[in-house]
C-alpha cells in the first residue's frame, strides 16, 4: 500500500559503472600484515605469541562463547607482536602483527568431498571460520544448524552504491560460486535455492543461468534497483512474499551472501580459509577506482594507493559503502574477512535546516519506522513513546538521513535514541 504508507525504499544512484568492468588489481602482499584477533568487536582467545612461526591457515585465535569463529593467518611468517590497534569496527582490538616471509607455506589443508553429509558440511564451514562476507560477519555455520530450512536465498543484490565486489567475485570465481551454492544447498537441506540479483546486471544473470543450467532447484530472481533491496527482510519479502519476527528461519529461509558462497566453494576445493578478498575501492575522492584482490590484513592505505591515492584534501575513508559504511579515523586499519569495500568520499558539511515534518524519512523507511516522530520523542525524553515507536527495529540503513531535505542527521539521532533506550533498559 504505497498510496497510504510510502514506498519504503528508494532508488539511489549506484555509481557502479566506475568499477564494474575494469580489470582487477592484484595487490602485492605487504611485508607486514596486521590480523585483527577478534570477531567484530568481540575479543577472541589468542592462540599464538610473539616470535611464533605461522603458516597460511595457522589458527591465530578463536572465539568460542556460543559462537565458534576461528581466525587464521593469511600469510606465512613470524609473529612480531600482539598489540591493540584501531580496527574497522572503530574500537581498538588486539592484532597479530606478522612479518611475511613470502614463502607462502600452508598448513596441511583439509578439503571436503562434495558427497559429504549435511552435518559434515556444516561442521566444515564452522572449522573453516567462514563468516558472512556481505559486511555483517555473522558466523555462517550457525544459520545452517537447522532442519527447518525450505528455501536457500543467495544474496547477490549489492544494493549499496559504488560496491561491485560481489558481482566481480562471481564472474572471476564462478567455479567456486557454483560449488559453494551446491554445498550450501546440501547444508541447508532446502528444497530450492533462489539467487537474488538486481535486474540490470544482465551479463551476470546470464552467467548464473548458464552455471546452473539443468539444475531445477536453482533459480534466479531479478530485483529492482532499489535501496535497501539487499537487506534480508526486504529480500525475503520480495522472494517469498513473507515477513518474519526475528530470524528468516521462522519462515523456513536461510540467507547467505554470494561472496560467502564463493568462500564455501573455495574452502571445499582448496581447503583454504578466507585469506584474500576482492575489495571495491571506489568513491569520488579516489583517483582511479578499481576492484582490488588483497590479502586479509593489508592496510587500507595500500589498497587506496594502488588505486592512485586521494584526490581531495579532506576525505572520509569508509569500511563498506557510503550508506552503511563505518567512517575510519586512519587508513592504517587493515582489511578483515568481512570487509567488502573501501569507499573514499570528499568530506562535506551539509547545511542544516529546521525539520519541515515532510515525512520523507518515514515514507522511505524499510523498517516502517517514523524517524520524525522518534526524534520528537527523543527530544522530549519520552521513553514509553520510543518503545511504542519501536526504535530498536532500526537497522541504520541510512535512508532517512539520505532523504531528509533539511539535511538533519536523522540516522545519527536514531542511533542516539536506540542507545538511550538500551541504556535505560539495562539500568
Amino acid at each position: 500500500m504505497s498510496l497510504l504508507f510510502g514506498p519504503m525504499h528508494q532508488h539511489i544512484d549506484g555509481h557502479k559503472e566506475v568499477t564494474a568492468h575494469n580489470e582487477i588489481i592484484h595487490l602485492d602482499v605487504p611485508e607486514i600484515i596486521g590480523v585483527a584477533l577478534s570477531h567484530g568487536n568481540i575479543e577472541a582467545n589468542i592462540l599464538v605469541k610473539e616470535g611464533d612461526h605461522v603458516k597460511i591457515g595457522t589458527k591465530l585465535a578463536e572465539r568460542d562463547d556460543g559462537f565458534y569463529v576461528p581466525i587464521f593467518s593469511p600469510v606465512s611468517g613470524t609473529v612480531k607482536s600482539i598489540e591493540k590497534r584501531p580496527s574497522t569496527s572503530l574500537k581498538p582490538v588486539m592484532h597479530a602483527i606478522i612479518e611475511n616471509d613470502f614463502r607462502e607455506d600452508t598448513v596441511e589443508l583439509k578439503t571436503i568431498s562434495e558427497e559429504a553429509s549435511k552435518e559434515e558440511i556444516v561442521e566444515f564451514i564452522k572449522q573453516m571460520g567462514i563468516i558472512g562476507c556481505g559486511g555483517a560477519g555473522f558466523p555462517t555455520y550457525y544459520k545452517y544448524q537447522t532442519d527447518k530450512c525450505e528455501h536457500l536465498l543467495i544474496n547477490a543484490v549489492e544494493c549499496e552504491p559504488y560496491i561491485t565486489a560481489d558481482a566481480r567475485m562471481i564472474e572471476e570465481k564462478s567455479y567456486y560460486f557454483k560449488t559453494g551454492v551446491r554445498m550450501l544447498l546440501k547444508a541447508s537441506g532446502a528444497r530450492d535455492c533462489i539467487i537474488c540479483i538486481k535486474e540490470e546486471k544482465k551479463d551476470l544473470i546470464e552467467l548464473i543461468d548458464l552455471m546452473f543450467e539443468g539444475d531445477k532447484r536453482v533459480s534466479v530472481l531479478k530485483l529492482k534497483d532499489l535501496y535497501p533491496m539487499g537487506w534480508e527482510r526486504v529480500m525475503v519479502y520480495e522472494a517469498l512474499n513473507a515477513q518474519y519476527e526475528r530470524f528468516p528461519i521462522e519462515i523456513g529461509a536461510i540467507i547467505t551472501s554470494a561472496t560467502t558462497a564463493i568462500y564455501v566453494g573455495r574452502a571445499t576445493i582448496t581447503g583454504l580459509p578466507i585469506n584474500e578478498k576482492i575489495i571495491t575501492v571506489s568513491g569520488d575522492a579516489v583517483k582511479s577506482p578499481h576492484n582490488v584482490l588483497a590479502r586479509v590484513g593489508t592496510p587500507f592505505r595500500n589498497l587506496i594507493e594502488a588505486c592512485g591515492g586521494y584526490t581531495s584534501d579532506e576525505v572520509i575513508v569508509l569500511s563498506g559503502g557510503p550508506m552503511m559504511g563505518t567512517s575510519l579515523r586512519s587508513d592504517e586499519v587493515t582489511t578483515r574477512p568481512a570487509v567488502n569495500a573501501i569507499t573514499v568520499l570528499t568530506y562535506m558539511v551539509y547545511e542544516e535546516y529546521p525539520c519541515i515534518r515532510c515525512g520523507a524519512c518515514a515514507n522511505n523507511c524499510p523498517s516502517g519506522l517514523r524517524p520524525v516522530n522518534i526524534i520528537q520523542a527523543l527530544k522530549a525524553k519520552d521513553f514509553d513513546r520510543l518503545q511504542r515507536l519501536k526504535v530498536t527495529d532500526c537497522v541504520e540503513c541510512g535512508l532517512c538521513a539520505y532523504n531528509c531535505p533539511s539535511k538533519i542527521p536523522v540516522t545519527e539521532n536514531m542511533r542516539r535514541a536506540k542507545r538511550l533506550l538500551n541504556a535505560r533498559k539495562q539500568s
Binding site: 500500500m1 498510496l3 497510504l4 504508507f5 510510502g6 539511489i12 552504491p161 515477513q243 586521494y310 584534501d313 579532506e314 576525505v315 572520509i316 575513508v317 569508509l318 557510503p322 550508506m323 552503511m324 559504511g325 563505518t326 567512517s327 575510519l328 579515523r329 586512519s330 569507499t343 568520499l345 568530506y347 551539509y350 547545511e351 529546521p354 525539520c355 519541515i356 515534518r357 515532510c358 515525512g359 518515514a362 515514507n363 523507511c365 523498517s367 516502517g368 519506522l369 517514523r370 520524525v372 516522530n373 513513546r385 511504542r388 515507536l389 519501536k390 541510512g398 535512508l399 538521513a401 539520505y402 532523504n403 531528509c404 531535505p405 533539511s406 539535511k407 542527521p409 540516522t411 545519527e412
Partner: protein, 371 residues
Amino acid sequence: MEIKYHAGPHIRSTRSTKIIMLELTAALLIVWLFSLFRYLGMGGAYARQIILIPIVSVGVCVLTEVLFALFYKKNVAKHLKGSFPWITGLILALTVPINTSLYALAVSAFIAIFFGKLVFGGFGDNIFNPAAIGRVTILTGFASSRLLDVVASPTPTTTIADSGWLLNQSGLQAFLSQFGGIKNMLLGNYFGAIGETNTLLIIILGIILSYNEILDWAVPAFYMGLIFAGTTIVGLIKGAGFEYGLFNVLTGGVAFGAVFMLTDPVTNPNTRAGRIVFTCFAAFFTVLIRYKASLPEGVCYSILLANILTPTIEKYFDGKTIDRMHKDTITVTLIILLSLFGIILIGLSLDVNDYPAVMALFKNIAGGIGL
C-alpha cells in the same frame, strides 16, 4: 590530506529544503505574473495595486522576521535563510482581492508572521498555516477596509452565496454565463482573490511541483476530488446539472488553497495516511462553511480547522507503519467515505433556487431600502 570522521550515511539526496522553498517561490511568482498581466491591462489603480500588494505583504513579513531576529540577537541573514518569510508573504498577497487596502494587508502580514509563526517557535514549529491566519485577519478584522477607487465586481462565490448556493439547471447556466461560463472560469478571467482565479494554471503548477517532490500530490488530489465528487452528486440529485461540481472546485480558491496552503508540510500530518485524513476533514469543513455558515468562502477557515486536528491525527496514527497497515487502511477508507457522505448530506439539505428569480428578489429589496 586529512582523514575526517563523519556519521553515516555519507551521501545525501539532492532534494533539499532550500530547493523546495525556491521552487515554491517560483510557482507563486508565476501565479502572480498571470494576474499582473491581467490587471496591468486594466490600468490605473489596478496596475498600482497588483504591484504594491505583493511588495507590501512580502516586505512586512520579511521586516517582521528581521526585527524578531534583531530583538533576540540572532544572525539576521542566517535567520532569514532558514525561515523563508517571503513564502508566507506571497501566499497572503495572492489570497486577497485587488481592492484590499494596503494598510489592512500590512497589519495582516505582521499578524501572519508574528502570531502565526514566530510565537510558536518559528519555521517548522508553527501549528497553523501563517498565510491562512493573515487571510482570516483581513476577512474578519478588515472586511470593510476596501479601496474606493478600485472597483471589484462581486466574485462568483459571494454571488452564489447570496443565492443560497444551490440553483436549478437554467439558473446555474444563467449564473455561470455572467462569468463567461465554466471555460472562462477555468482560465481565471473574473474577479476573485488575485492569485486564486486561474485554476488551470494552478493545477498545472501543482502537477509540476508534485512531480518534483515539492509537495504531496495526494493532498490537493483528495481535497479537490472530494469536493468535486460530493458536489457533483449533489448537483445531479438536486437537478443543478453536471457543471455544479466543477463550479464548486473552480471558485473560491479551492485549487490555490489545495496546492499552496493545505500542502504545507509543517502544518499537516507527517504520514501519507494522516495527510489523507487531514484532507478529508478540510474538504468537509470547506463545504460545511460554504453551504451553512455566513461566510461565502470556506477554504482558509477549513485549512485552519484542519490544522488544529493535525496533532490529534498524528497521535492516532502514531506507531510503526508496518504494524498499523491493516488498521490504517480501514480507518482511511472509512474517513474518505464518511466525509464524502457528509458533503453530500450538507448539499442535500440546501433549497434549490431559480437564479433570475433570486436576483429579482434582491433588486426589489435593494430598491425598497433605497440602495
